[in-house]
Amino acid sequence: MTHQAAAEGRAPQTRQAGRGRRLRFAALCAAGVAALLVSVALAITIGPADIGVADVWAVVGAHLGLGSSGLTPIRDGIVWQLRLPRTLLAAVCGAGLAVCGAVMQSLLRNPLADPFVLGVSSGASTGAVAVVVLGAGGGAVTVSAGAFVGAVVSFALVLLGSQVLGGTMDRVVLSGVAAMQLFSALTSFVVMTAADAEQTRGVLFWLLGSLGNVGWSEVWVCLAVLAVVLLVCAAHAHALDAFAFGQDAAATLGVHVARTRLILLSVTALLTAALVSSAGAIGFVGLVLPHATRGLVGPGHARLLPVTALTGAVFLVWVDTLARTALDPQEVPVGVVTSLIGVPAFLLVLYRSRKVTTS
């Protein structure tokens, strides 16, 4: 048979191609890690205070107990207390949002799904506004904690709603949209009726997403949540692949659909809540970066998830650097910059994939 002859001729070639792909993937990961380290180091040197890459390493070394940095306490503080935690949180947020986006797009089979589709960000906003403007919690609750509670409440409502509405994936998206509208309305209502001008400005800045005023505690909390969620999602990489042709197809490939969906939606909502409560709602990272990364490594999740985390991290480190320096000394909310970059990038992604959806 001609098929067989062709197959025998191609078999070693296919195996070689497999090895080539693995090598390429390893090289891509190594390059991504290197790019992230260099980006973080470089981003810290950029800003009003003149600091070099060598100074950054010296300060990091000093704080890890490797002798003195030789810098003045103020310059040391600029690196260690301001720029380093901020840059690291940008990396963690970028990685986390991109991973959440990749997982949700596959799980919900919706290329428009992003970490905020579950109503998490709008719930977080309402929680934050309740603390800032209404003084909920009587001063004992921080803005972050309020945002986190709001995010979790909103996600629980979305899950409950989707279950009541029929339990399919599109119901999750629809009840997420409903929750988004509801909580946005609540947030606006509270801000318009109760907030003074200064509160409004503070809330607005937070709603648009900002990495200013973050400290090491936010970095550690978000990094820990990111690590756990990344592990859980990577453990489900094959199951996520199986959702390519829908949930029935996934079930016939041996995936426990309801359980997998609940686990993955819960952990991504948790990660989004943690990120949003630290840095506000930074849009478009979770929407655009997974699509762009698929162009690099293909749709298989075993490769997509780690590489998406890396590209998301590098992306947000540079976008945040741009946000805090472009109109110096005025700072632009990072969410505004991600949207300004994200919209054309998103249209480009859609344009590239138009053949797929129309065929």
Partner: protein, 312 residues
């Protein structure tokens, strides 16, 4: 993740199989596919009964979609599932696949109810090809076929040599070897379905369920696909609309009407003018002159002799 339970499943099954299978056989009376082929396989069935539905019923919104259907596809045969739109073909296939749970009755695999088996263990035995597969992902044909290895793989593991071999074999069998690196979206309808069948074969199933896989295909691709399916060494249940194609390729036919089995047996026994009139409400002229005893159906229209259609 689920996994690692198959060893215990095998031993359990071996111990309990014989009694389960024979007991079930005695009680199955209303709609068993009981034929020469089926009887020939009885000894094999006693040690390893395949997929079978016993008096399964499924209701949706208060309506009976499938109503007390029993099916035991003979090992290695191609069983055609016929019936008008809404007769319950797809629902029955979904019940057999374990995607839907029966309202009453039971679907068993190797003598054990599907409910008691881990999904992964089922997916290593039963593969499904849907009517209209669609995806947003830009997968290559090779990647689509590789999806079939998911039930065989553990979390964190890379594809093994056995995985690659199964994928290669499935591509070869379906004639898609030289399409492996092409995007699935760029294939024609017939080739897409072949790729889905290759994916199903990569699961290395013993049972294959297909839901009207020839819909939307031109006649040549319908014939290609059905001869591919008919040559596969697995037990296959296929829902079909075209009675002549069913008669040409299937070893056994089950005809559903309003969720109940209207007839079952060989194409020659099942496809009669009376049955076609009763189930489809269409008058037909059926001949058996192809030399293999396969019936040929010529439709005469449903509203009397004056409106008869004479194709060809």
């Amino acid at each position: 993740m689920i996994g690692g339970t198959d060893a215990s499943m095998e031993t359990d099954t071996d111990a309990s199989m014989e009694t389960d299978a024979s007991a079930a056989m005695e009680t199955d009376t209303d709609a068993v596919v009981d034929t020469d082929a089926g009887r020939g396989m009885e000894t094999a069935t006693a040690t390893d009964s395949g997929l079978r539905a016993e008096r399964v019923t499924r209701t949706a919104g208060g309506h009976l979609i499938v109503d007390g259907v029993s099916v035991t596809p003979p090992q290695g045969s191609l069983v055609g599932l016929l019936g008008p739109n809404g007769s319950g073909k797809s629902t029955l296939l979904r019940l057999l696949a374990g995607v839907l749970a029966p309202t009453s009755g039971v679907v068993t695999l190797g003598g054990r109810p599907l409910n008691d088996l881990p999904r992964k263990a089922i997916a290593r035995r039963v593969a499904v090809v849907e009517q209209n597969a669609a995806t947003q992902s830009e997968l290559t044909v090779g990647e689509v076929v590789r999806l079939g290895r998911i039930p065989h793989r553990r979390a964190w593991s890379a594809a093994s040599a056995a995985d690659e071999e199964a994928v290669r074999h499935a591509l070869e069998r379906t004639g898609l070897m030289d399409r492996a690196d092409q995007l699935w979206h760029t294939l024609s309808g017939g080739e897409r379905q072949r790729a889905q069948i290759a994916r199903a074969l990569a699961q290395q199933p013993r049972e294959l369920l297909l839901d009207e896989p020839t819909n939307h295909l031109d006649i040549r691709h319908q014939l290609d696909l059905l001869s591919l399916v008919a040559d596969l060494p697995v037990t296959t249940v296929i829902a079909l609309h075209d009675l002549n194609l069913a008669a040409m390729y299937c070893d056994q036919l089950i005809v559903l009407r309003k969720g109940r089995v209207a007839a079952c047996g060989t194409p020659r026994d099942v496809l009669t003018e009376d049955l076609v009139a009763e189930v489809y409400g269409v008058r037909a002229d059926i001949t058996h002159d192809d030399g293999h005893g396969r019936p040929h159906i010529r439709f005469l229209g449903g509203h009397g002799p004056s409106s008869s259609v004479r194709p060809g």
